[in-house]
Chain length 314, copies 2
Amino acid sequence: MHEFDLIARLKPLLPSNDFVVEGAGDDCAVLDLGDPGHHTLFKTDAIVEGIHFSRDADPGRVGHKAIARCLSDIAAMAGEPIAAVITLALPKNHDAAWCEALYAGLGKTAARHQVAIVGGETTTNPDRILVNVAMIGRVPRDRAVRRSGARAGDALFVSGELGGSIAGRHLEFEPRLAEARWLAANVDVHAMIDLSDGLAGDLPHLLAASGGLGAEIRAASVPVSRAARELARAGDLAKPALLAALTDGEDFELLFAVPPSDAVRVLDGWKAAFPETRLCCIGKTTATPGVILVGERGPRPMPRGGYEHFHGPQ
Amino acid sequence: MHEFDLIARLKPLLPSNDFVVEGAGDDCAVLDLGDPGHHTLFKTDAIVEGIHFSRDADPGRVGHKAIARCLSDIAAMAGEPIAAVITLALPKNHDAAWCEALYAGLGKTAARHQVAIVGGETTTNPDRILVNVAMIGRVPRDRAVRRSGARAGDALFVSGELGGSIAGRHLEFEPRLAEARWLAANVDVHAMIDLSDGLAGDLPHLLAASGGLGAEIRAASVPVSRAARELARAGDLAKPALLAALTDGEDFELLFAVPPSDAVRVLDGWKAAFPETRLCCIGKTTATPGVILVGERGPRPMPRGGYEHFHGPQ
């Protein structure tokens, strides 16, 4: 069974209460905890040795990745991160120096984004290391940017460059917190999601949440990363660079939808605010469901998939 | 390295910020998120197949245990639980029906305590199932009951009965939320902790947090569970019942300290409010460090240990 099918099947079993503004299904849950100015964001995420990092990876970078993934989800709601708690599940013969280096990486990235680490549990996972991060953030009341607000004809943008993160970026990416908050403050962002499962995997989530829209993506406008291009040159078994940009996971870039009338203003404002980070208009949403990739060969269906944890890199 | 040593070594690496009232080291972190009436509690906890439950355990009871452990930590601060997010790490060939039954158990216990489940992540843990629960709760401002407030001469109480939880109670215990909130509302509770690592393991945490106190525990007053007595009769290799009550893990009962002048009032009030749940005064705190067990053979040092995840039941 597919990860998303499982979550969809489980969702009706989840109890709610009056604190819940938005439950499971978006990048973060949204709660009303009584702060007159803010809603609270809540998120959990885990990385697992052999799935999301290799045993010989630098532990500081593993710690960075563990917390940066949660930070990216806070960014996707245009939120401000506040505090995190860590669960470190370790084989019994764990190396204390490795754990300290992991925490140093966690702590450095947390400090850079003004996030407190307020709890650290350890438990046993006999076969491999697992790091879970749960995070609280906040967003001005009713200003969380959801996946669900896109409308037909919206312009679609992605930050940064896509594909090939396995070459190193998956351990180094910087969550787009400042960029997302700038967007929410300056543009009418209809919908936003962070790209953890690849553009081809995550765009359908945004479209489905927004009432079953479709999209047309211009192949030539997809920002293909240098890493994806270099990996594509590795041989005749390598993924073509465009396919990698569409289907590789762990980009942790922002995908968002704005009214077409805002498109030029977004590009100009972004360029002034974040001159070192690309922003590309990759296409538009459509009333007709389905994602179409428009390239030199004419329109084609978007390649399926995107990164899935249950079928992802080992 | 010991779990608690690791956490102590890691703690200085953890960044803080102005939202933090109490960081790592108590049953929950305490945050000030701007609710004029409340502080926010934050906790994470994981259970792992083969460590905290067996593969053939009923999945509904595993789900109950996963969330009830976090609820017990909220109880230990005299808090009210609000919302939880779940990370379910599974082998690739996971059984969807097992997952649904797990979530049904999680959901039923959450609903019984008015907790919303607002997010459910799944990821791959190839060798065994791991369930992480992160929870937000709240407590009236400045009314969170810490581990750190005990004073020399305080009376020490435990709820329920101790030991032998492996016989079944570890999958069935009900977190003492109502009892803890009753205590905080009616008694001057100086310090409280939930017993996850056994009385002999957790009492020293409360005493250390309270400035390095000691304690005298009356062996005859320790409430030994029927399960511990029955397991003790299993043969000449079985743990004596008193030792089990002191050192078995996963009791999830409350241990708390009150001024000696309140002791009778606590017992009488508890009996009226919770007639079906035992409450025992097991001894007192002392200015002299160290935990002494006073029994028929005179005073002895408390047996070492208590349940540790790194050396616990397999």
